[in-house]
């Protein structure tokens, strides 16, 4: 959407740029509470970027649909009779009523419950009751099809954008975004398990996003899951062996990394040997990926045991078995949608074990996830207080201490201690998306992934 900004005067470029200082890591807390900024985010970030919709396994047959969101715009994502997937704005062209009120299902067409206008699976308006009588035949159905978003897929993951001038999904993802999605498929083709866990947290969506790179909070926030024996923090955190990959448009992957010299040894092993090595490790250790994963994730990406975020709001979890959308619902509310994924070819018992484990990790009753929400809602709440928000967020960890390396595949990454490079990259990209009036300006002004000391 070429701008369409409804709040041109509320925040100008200089004011937006001043909200985050990447040289100190200082973030103005108004980004977590301001209604005007939130409206601008819907227009300049969500309506403009590629947003995750669903995985192809959720749309197996013609007529299968799911309802998803771009910001607060609701879309029907549906496979038509020819097998093509469409992203249709879920609003009747007549009076705006939602055509689809279920969150998923199967349909032959979409009939509006208000006056009975009927749309095909490709969004074409095919039926208008009383067309010849009440409209005297004077209604051009061809101009009143459902509005469509562009939709493209990568590795079976469908994304949609409302911006006709956005780059292709492939280019938008860049090397970091593609590596992040590949993490899900590192052990073979995947399918989404029935059931998306959904809940609402009273927090700004960015607080939920910037937490996913945050390996600093794990031992403290999640201490009780460790004590309860659900997981062993020492086996997953590796605080001194971390990698953050910084990608185009704000994508990043942050977390533990397999050191280069260890990966070199792994590279010499067959898949059978890797399997043996994985089984020999203590329960809960990261699985060693098969040979084919290097082709998918790249020679540096394959070492990552971290969390990717596809900007703005899609989190892929470390093992690639869960993905989470953080859907904005006003400056102080976020809806979390948790998807669970399993390798398609895994035996039923292995799938069951993955699903049972994931049912206990993330999701509102998850043994890890339970303790995150209140940290985020309380941080959001304090951003509403005049004095509290004046303090700013201090995202300075590791600032100026890590040298960006550039891999053979064009990966930009740092390795070292736990730090806040991912968070700083997120907010830097955020200011660039927010201050650009259209895609052309974003392309002209955005930062390339950094080099040198950061």
């Amino acid at each position: 959407m070429a701008d369409g900004t409804a709040h041109p005067a509320s925040w100008d470029r200089a004011e937006i740029q001043a909200l985050f200082d990447s040289t100190t890591g200082w973030l103005d807390r108004r980004v977590l509470s301001d209604e005007g900024l939130y409206q601008l985010e819907l227009e300049r970030i969500f309506a403009r970027s590629w947003n995750f919709m669903c995985h192809e396994s959720q749309l197996k047959a013609p007529g299968d649909y799911v309802v998803s969101y771009i910001g607060e715009d609701q879309l029907i994502v549906v496979r038509d009779e020819e097998g093509e997937v469409h992203a249709l704005l879920n609003t009747c062209r007549h009076r705006g009523n939602a055509l689809c009120r279920a969150e998923q299902g199967h349909a032959k067409s979409f009939v509006c419950s208000y006056h009975g206008w009927n749309y095909g699976l490709d969004g074409r308006l095919i039926g208008v009751p009383g067309l010849s009588t009440f409209y005297h035949g004077d209604l051009d159905k061809s101009r009143l099809g459902l509005a469509k978003a562009r939709i493209e897929s990568h590795l079976g993951f469908y994304f949609a954008t409302l911006a006709p001038d956005a780059p292709s999904l492939h280019d938008f993802l860049g090397v970091t975004g593609r590596t992040g999605l590949a993490m899900v498929c590192a052990n073979g083709e995947v399918e989404v398990v029935e059931g998306v866990q959904k809940n609402v947290i009273d927090c700004n969506w960015k607080i939920a996003v910037d937490n996913l790179f945050d390996w600093y909070h794990v031992p403290y926030s999640h201490a009780s899951a460790n004590t309860a024996g659900f997981f062993d923090i020492a086996r997953i955190q590796f605080p001194k062996s971390q990698m953050v990959m910084l990608g185009e448009y704000g994508h990043a992957i942050g977390g533990p990394v397999i050191p280069r010299e260890v990966q070199d040894q792994i590279d010499g092993l067959s898949d059978a040997q890797r399997g043996e090595m994985s089984r020999a490790q203590p329960e809960g250790s990261p699985r060693i990926r098969p040979k084919s994963a290097t082709d998918l994730m790249g020679p540096e990406g394959v070492r990552s045991q971290g969390h990717p975020n596809i900007f703005p709001n899609l989190w892929v979890t470390i093992s690639g078995t869960q993905m989470c959308l953080r859907l904005p619902r006003g400056p102080s509310h976020t809806e979390l949608w948790w998807f669970t994924l399993v390798p398609k070819a895994a035996p039923p018992q292995a799938k069951r074990e993955i699903v049972r484990r994931m049912n206990h990790v993330f999701g509102p009753a998850g043994l890890l996830e339970q303790d995150d929400g209140e940290n985020w809602s309380q941080s959001t709440r304090s951003a509403r207080g005049v004095a509290s928000r004046g303090l700013g967020q201090a995202l300075s960890m590791g600032l100026g201490r890590d040298e960006v390396r550039v891999g053979a595949g064009g990966e930009h990454y740092v390795e070292g201690l736990i730090g806040e490079h991912g968070q700083r990259w997120l907010y830097r990209a955020w200011t660039e998306w927010m201050s650009a009036r259209d895609w052309a300006e974003l392309e002209a002004t955005r930062s390339a992934p950094p080099t040198g000391l950061i």
Partner: protein, 185 residues
């Protein structure tokens, strides 16, 4: 499976009313006592009421059309909010006891209501009972959460009391309107 659980079995329906009333009273008293332990935050004592083979499950509920109604709830083995056996329930209790379960410190104030209790069947020592639940939770200054739904429990008689063998919780919300579900239902 959900609809079949709605009906009383013939054998139970044909049991003389006075006998049914006694069992009803015993089962209700057990369910109320169990709820009281949770409200009193006596999680370890509550765990003692769980059978070793307990199955504690809350599927995901979805907004679907009548035509797709068989997909309203996820099925066993699919994604679920609770998918616990005894070991997982013990982990939840240990977590609450850890001293670092921040989502429950300060502790929530919860009230577990159990109503519309209907015994559906008895098989040997086991009694299948359907009920409505309403869990009301407040936290911090003004957080309020409410979870309402239907549940199907199986309780097993033994040692002078009952143990819970199965609890299937069918929540009425599809998007959970809460920061978390650190509560036991």
């Amino acid at each position: 499976m959900h609809t079949s659980e709605l009906a009383r079995t013939r054998a139970w329906a044909d049991t003389p009313p006075v006998e049914r009333a006694v069992v009803q009273y015993e089962v209700e008293q057990f369910l109320y006592a169990e709820a009281a332990l949770l409200d009193a935050r006596r999680y370890r004592d509550w765990l003692a009421l769980m059978a070793e083979d307990v199955e504690y499950w809350m599927p995901v509920r979805r907004t679907v059309t009548n035509a797709d109604i068989e997909r309203e709830f996820t099925k066993p083995g699919e994604v679920a909010y609770f998918d616990d056996d005894w070991a997982y329930l013990e982990m939840r209790v240990k977590k609450l006891e850890a001293g670092s379960a921040w989502s429950e410190d300060p502790p929530s104030r919860s009230r577990h209501f159990v109503s519309n209790v209907r015994i559906l069947d008895t098989q040997g020592d086991e009694i299948t009972v359907e009920a409505c639940f309403h869990v009301y939770r407040t936290r911090l200054e003004r957080d309020v959460d409410q979870w309402v739904g239907r549940r199907v429990d199986v309780v097993r008689r033994g040692g002078g009391g009952f143990l819970l063998v199965k609890r299937h919780l069918f929540l009425d919300q599809t998007v959970i309107q809460s920061t978390n579900m650190s509560t036991i239902f």
